[in-house]
Amino acid sequence: MRRHWENCVTHFDEGVYQFIDDYFVRPSRHCVLVAGAGFDPRAKRIAHRLSAAMGSRVHGFFIREERGDPAANLQKLADETEAQLKGVIADARIAYIQIFSADDQAPIGGHGVRAALEKYDWPKNITDIVLDMSALSTGIGFPLAKLLLEYAEAHPSVSLHVMVVSNPELDDRIIGEPSPQVQSVRGYSGPSGGYEPLPVARIWLPQLGRGRVETLRKIRNTLDSVYKVCPVVPFPARNPRRADELLAEYQGQLLNEWQVDARDLIYVSERNPLDCYRTISTLKSRYDQTVEGVFFPQLILSPFGSKVIAVGAMMAAIEHNLSVQYVETLRYEFEPTGTKELDAPPDMAVHVWLHGPVYGSYDVEPEDVVS
């Protein structure tokens, strides 16, 4: 039980960069940065800052997600990102991960990233791992997080940090073409076996994201024995109408197809992933109690939209062994334009210190103070 996850050390926005400058600048810190090296304009931010603070004490393990038929402009942007990352971090390894099998177009990215990480020759004396999920897809970022957490928990002196540079308005402009196949994210298939004596009763938590109606419909159609659908929407959010706008986009599904009770909407902070983590954890605990002895409870997550919220969902999925159902993206479309970027709201940043010696006394009961 990772009790400290309820109250992880977090930093936000400028606080993230101040933390990097304060903590990683120490000569005793030696870090591996694991991040995406794709077209996303947020891919380089953390790398630049870590490099400035650490120089040669930061090593890079970067993922190029290879999809069959990428848009030419995005391929070019990704090449530029890769070159820049190699430029700022001297020891930069690039892992080229095929997202789909050449044979049958089955999604295999999770398998590929595991194999690549197993081959990675970890530098000596590593004290910190930073997983920058800003430019990683769910199918890659989620398995990586789980693998890196296993690594860090097996090495008690190693800290694991998750960082995300997010921009919900920019996310809205990145269009993904979904693959035909619904599947579990590798490592997130939920409990296997052991519950056959009881029928399963599922609660599905689709995280509503703009432009993902058909994708989520596809996932819902593969699920049976659904007890309830509890859509996850962002609130508080820097656009206080964002949740309303998503509800309007999904109104047909919410009302007519998924039979969502208005009281079952789940509001989670767009800024702080721990809010989503805590909310899903509470739901899991209560639902388990509710159906105990009658049904086997299963929570299924489908994170789309805000990456910050998705990180919270990922933490809940790891902690409670929840299933994450998703649809891989065949190709992306994104047209960065200087003018729009200037008008766009600024990027947000978040740091969650997932694991490490900083939580050494979190669970220790105080001897001389009681609340």
């Binding site: 400290h4 309820e6 109250n7 050390v9 977090t10 933390f19 304060d22 903590y23 609130f235 508080p236 820097r238 656009n239 206080p240 109408r241 949740a243 309303d244 509800l247 309007a248 109104q251 047909g252 919410l254 009302l255 208005a262 009281r263 909407l265 509001y267 989670v268 902070s269 702080n272 721990l274 809010d275 805590r278 210190w353 010696p357 900083v358 939580y359 050494g360 006394s361 979190y362 220790v364 105080p366 001897e367 001389d368 103070v369 009681v370 609340s371």
Partner: protein, 381 residues
């Protein structure tokens, strides 16, 4: 509800084209969903006349050619904070605002970094002690102290929460006694940190303002309360001399945040008996500047605000409005021009078309509200 009748009612009022049922059906589906998710929960709606019926009444006050503009405003600009959303804002307060502050406080005392507080037992113990020495004070009904308590059950004690500001000597002594009896606390222990909690601020005026050289507002009242109780109770007063004051609103406009900080700086210099050592201003949801209705984007709705305005809403609260430098109320109190409604009431900083009710004396337009507003004196307006 008879959906077909409700749909016909709204289609007739708004003027959705009779030959295109798709538009009416689509819009009605949206209305039905938003009513269920949010608007029907408004505290002044009653059985039989909830959002859809209130919307019909509200729209009918406008000339037919203006109704589409009013409907479009509701659909695209209104920010309605529902009860579950407010609950979320309350629930994030302690983990996202209080905890980081206490980590910084403990770190400063121990000479460590805030993120090192839980590294060893010394920091963990100091954190728990610091949390118990934090006092939470509700400033109004909107402070949602009941929700705050439930959300932090096991984390904060009921003996460190004061639901309303009217604290008497007996209560202060009770707080002091309970704090000092906590295991591990010294006999002279006091609260180091005080959070004043309120639900909403759009202009910052209710909290602190200077009118013709005289300071007014909730903070002034609280400061006087502390000063008087401290003078009376001396060593038995439970709040430390150098306590830190934290002003937290669950929702704040960017405009209010700026005004609060500016006025606090001014007051700090002017107040001879300022009772705290330092202060912070925080919020769970900061409304963006872009929320305010502005021309040209909101021009048509602002025009409606002028066209269907009854000056009675100004004269009714003239003293209050003039203190805010206003000569009319077309844009709401302090000219905030906000499109916001809270599930338990509508702020008077929102555009009056949303909340104003008048009798239309002298042949002027009778304003009809969509979301009734209860003012501070208990009357609906």
């Amino acid at each position: 509800m008879n959906d077909r009748m409700a749909l016909s009612l709204l289609a007739e009022i708004i003027g959705w084209p009779e030959d295109d049922q798709t538009v009416a059906t689509h819009e009605y589906a949206w209305l039905r969903m938003m009513s269920a998710v949010k608007y029907d929960g408004y505290s002044y709606f009653r059985a039989g006349v909830r959002f859809l019926e209130s919307l019909a009444t509200w729209l009918k006050q406008f000339d037919p050619e203006d109704r589409a503009t009013a409907y479009d405003f509701i659909k695209r600009r209104l920010v309605y904070i529902s009860l579950p959303e407010m609950q979320r804002l309350v629930e994030t307060f302690v983990p996202e605002v209080v905890t980081p502050h206490l980590r910084r406080t403990v770190a400063l005392k121990l000479g460590i970094k805030p993120y090192e507080v839980w590294t060893d037992k010394r920091g963990a113990d100091a954190f728990k002690k610091c949390l118990r020495k934090t006092l939470f004070v509700g400033m109004s009904d909107g402070s949602r102290i009941d929700m705050l308590r439930r959300a932090n059950s096991g984390r904060i004690s009921t003996e460190q929460v004061v639901p309303m500001m009217n604290v008497d000597s007996e209560k202060w002594l009770d707080l002091s006694k309970n704090l000092r009896e906590v295991q591990g606390m010294a006999p002279s222990e006091r609260f180091d940190c005080v959070y004043l909690i309120d639900d909403f601020t759009a202009s910052g005026t209710t909290f602190i303002r200077n009118v013709n050289g005289a300071w007014k507002g909730k903070l002034k009242k609280f400061n006087d309360l502390i000063r008087n109780a401290r003078n009376e109770l001396k060593d038995r007063f439970p709040i430390a001399e150098d306590y830190t004051l934290h002003i937290h609103h669950y929702i704040s406009s960017t405009q209010a945040r700026g005004a609060l900080v500016e006025r606090l700086e001014y007051a700090k210099v002017e107040w001879s008996e300022w009772t705290c050592s330092e202060y912070t201003v925080t919020e769970s949801l900061l409304l963006p500047m872009s929320l305010r209705l502005l021309r040209p984007g909101d021009g048509r709705m602002l025009d409606l605000g002028a066209k269907y305005y009854d000056h009675e809403i100004f004269t009714r609260a003239e003293k209050h409005c003039r203190e805010a430098g206003q000569t009319d109320m077309k844009l709401g109190y302090a000219d905030c021009a906000l499109p916001i409604v809270l599930e338990h009431n509508t702020p008077n900083n929102s555009i009056p078309l949303l909340w104003a009710e008048t009798e239309g004396k002298g042949g002027v337009h009778k304003m009809r509200s969509l979301f009734y507003r209860r003012d501070r004196h208990g009357s609906l307006q």
